[in-house]
Symmetry: C2
């Protein structure tokens, strides 16, 4: 029940696109990767996959770049996670047991389960747009400048 670095980058930069891009204002990988602290070739790879998964959109060439369409904006955070990590990973038992449910629970099942349901619900129900709006309506700026980069410290 945790995200890979890749998924984190993907969620953050998709929210960034929601806030800053449009069909007439496309943003290049470098522009995102420079304004934040994510390695741009890695982000480029991720973006390719997100495009294939129809989470974000792209056009090549001059004035090209990445952006969100209206359809893209209706996707949920869970779709990003699914696209990058797959759902199995985030759904799996907290202690890694293969068979873990109410009738055959792991030692922490009843502690973890409500938590998981709740958070997954929100990741499923809120659209990218809603998330992005919530962020800006709270007066927060979505800079991703301070992503933890364990090695470089």
């Amino acid at each position: 029940m945790m995200l890979s670095r890749a998924s984190k980058y993907a969620i953050l930069s998709t929210l960034f696109l929601a806030e800053h891009s449009s069909e007439t204002r496309k943003i290049s990988v470098k522009e995102i990767a420079n304004s934040i602290d994510v390695p741009s070739p890695f982000l480029a790879k991720l973006f390719q996959q997100l495009v294939r998964g129809k989470i974000i959109s792209s056009t090549k060439g001059p004035n090209g770049g990445f952006y969100l369409t209206k359809r893209n904006r209706k996707k949920a955070v869970i779709d990003i996670i699914e696209n990058i990590d797959g759902l199995e990973k985030i759904n799996e038992c907290f202690l890694g047991l293969n068979e873990c449910d109410g009738s055959n629970p792991c030692p922490v099942h009843f502690i973890v389960e409500p938590f998981k349901n709740n958070i997954m619900g929100k990741f499923r129900d809120k659209t990218i747009t809603e998330f992005a709006e919530e962020i800006s309506s709270n007066g927060r700026v979505l800079t991703l400048k301070d992503l933890t980069t364990p090695k470089k410290q």
Copy 2:
């Protein structure tokens, strides 16, 4: 906010020791590793570290093995996690931001935070003994047979 495979193995087998071992009934790595599906050399390494961290105890030689003392039994699950993964990893922001708190929250901060506190509280407050008792009082057997082993499937 997620555990390494190592931590999962450690939690499960410590609970196993709580249920099956005592100062006069020591259990070898192989006995645990065979009765469950965890690779024994890897578990052996983990156990060494848990012993150094005073989470579990060991004696060498014939009839030796691993077991829990009364002191060991008062440790909490969080101590196991801390010993193996460190607390930073489990405490870090869900989206990986370096600075993420109430006044400077990540996009999912207010969704994730309450649950994290709740779950961490339980991992901090319940002793190993309490966890183990809860398991057996519910008539459940703690076999770890079905740990997910992604590659081998």
